[in-house]
Amino acid sequence: MKTGLRNSSEDHVHFHDCFTDHRGWIDSQEKENIRSDVHTKGNSILSVLQTSPVTSTNDCIIIIDSLTPLIYNIGFTRCYRELHSLLVKSTNGLTVSQVICLIHEDTLPDVHVALPQLCHLATTTVKIGSHTQSSRGNPTASIIHKKQGGKILRQVEYYSIDADNRLKSEILTLVTPTVAGVNEDENQLPEDLTTFKLSLGQQEKEARSQLVLPYLRINSEKGGKVFYQPDAADDWDEEDPDDDLDI
């Protein structure tokens, strides 16, 4: 990661290596310490800060590469509490002005519980997504910022990183497809599609309105009535079949 950052003011950036030997496996083998009750460096943010060489007591910004190993090692509750305490009180004379954490959503255990809580703790959430139609192939970032007065700022941007590791971002404007043109076309028949004549002339429209459909009777009486026309093969009997009943 150090090779990725090319900054001239390196004395302002302190790297804390919590990556190598985070469980004390390498050290303890040399000391033949099989019982690893000694969870050494990097196990909690506070302990790392306590051991860090402090050159100035100005406000400092803490950047955490990935929260997932921390959550795995010390548990989510403790991690949350430490993050909160970092923001609220000062440690070892250091006042923390900002904490920036990176979370890989799919690597978190119990993400549906943990992620909303972390988002609640944060004042700014930047959600990185893959490219969409309107982002011209660039990945997108949706930003939600909660201001102190209670207002919430929401913005979606797309970004790219150039050769000098500089971030370029622009606000995403959704490209809406032109819907109006499509609606108009639907009302008209697509006359140019075939060589058949699909439209009706004036005379033909009149003839159509005058046409009486053979089996349709306009019912002017109230109530329903069944119209039945017996065929030649029908045996129509006018008598009431229930006449012989003695009721």
Binding site: T20, D21, W25, S36, Y72, N73, G137, S160
Partner: protein, 255 residues
């Protein structure tokens, strides 16, 4: 092939994701063949198959693992045998129980074994490839995702402390298994090249064995549109002595 060997894989992690109903072993065997061809050495951590299996496949691809092991170019840690020994040790209360006991100790012991072997190999040859097949089998031993991820992190530290080392890890994913998904997600986020092997969605075919997607995460190059996380999709067919790879839709019988 497929641009993996065109890039220098030293100091990088290649992750092979094997989805259910497909076998990603061929990728490992091809990468081992590649390494042998380049006259590098291989440290094989065999969790899924025994060493004899890799030797048999290797003879078909053109390299003899037993011979290479005798020469000292190939080291192997056969976890299946270790399992057997540990079970016996546990049963008879002897020393030598490597795998059963505290989870963290298990992973630590395994890591130290690997470290020792890679250091030994690096003394002889400059290029060493550490091949782990298959990481999700550790979950089957009852070890939690947290410990396996710690183990993976320690293997990654070897990439920095031992120059000339490259890492190839295979994991299996089955749908519905959350632990495997978590492990795989954790692995893919830190990998430089991801090879995803899965079976065909519509069933099985005699002409195509499955599909393979190779994703190169170029972290050292600028992230421009469409270049970021470039993905290439291929279909492959496993034959007796080789693996044929082709673009989707261009299998020889279809053309």
């Amino acid at each position: 092939a497929l641009g993996i060997d065109q890039e220098n894989s030293v100091g990088k992690l290649i992750a092979v994701e094997e989805h259910h109903s497909s076998n990603g072993n061929f990728v490992l065997n091809c990468l081992i063949a590649e390494q042998v061809h380049k006259e590098g050495s291989v440290c094989l951590v065999a969790l899924h198959n025994s060493f004899g299996h890799y030797h048999n496949v290797g003879t078909k691809l053109g390299y003899n693992l037993h011979q290479l092991q005798e020469k000292g170019c190939v080291e192997s840690i056969e976890v299946l045998k270790l399992l057997n020994e540990s079970l016996n040790a546990e049963h008879e209360n002897r020393v030598g129980n490597v795998l059963f006991g505290d989870e963290e100790n298990t992973m630590r012991n395994l890591f130290h074994l690997i470290k020792g072997k890679t250091e030994k190999l690096l003394q002889k040859r400059k290029l060493v490839s550490l091949v782990i097949d298959d990481l999700s089998n550790l979950l089957s031993l009852g070890i939690s995702v947290k410990e396996v991820l710690s183990f993976l992190q320690y293997c990654r530290t070897l990439l920095e402390s031992q120059p000339g080392l490259s890492l190839v890890v295979l994991t299996h994913i089955a749908e519905g298994d959350d632990e495997q998904q978590l492990l795989n997600a954790g692995l893919c986020h830190v990998a430089d090249v991801i090879v995803t092997v899965c079976g065909l969605k519509t069933g099985q075919s005699s002409d195509v064995s499955g599909s393979m997607k190779v994703t190169h995460r170029r972290l050292d190059q600028p992230m421009i549109a469409h270049e970021w996380n470039k993905q290439n999709l291929y279909h492959f067919k496993l034959l007796d002595r080789q693996v044929k790879v082709f673009a989707p839709g261009t299998a020889t019988c279809l053309i």
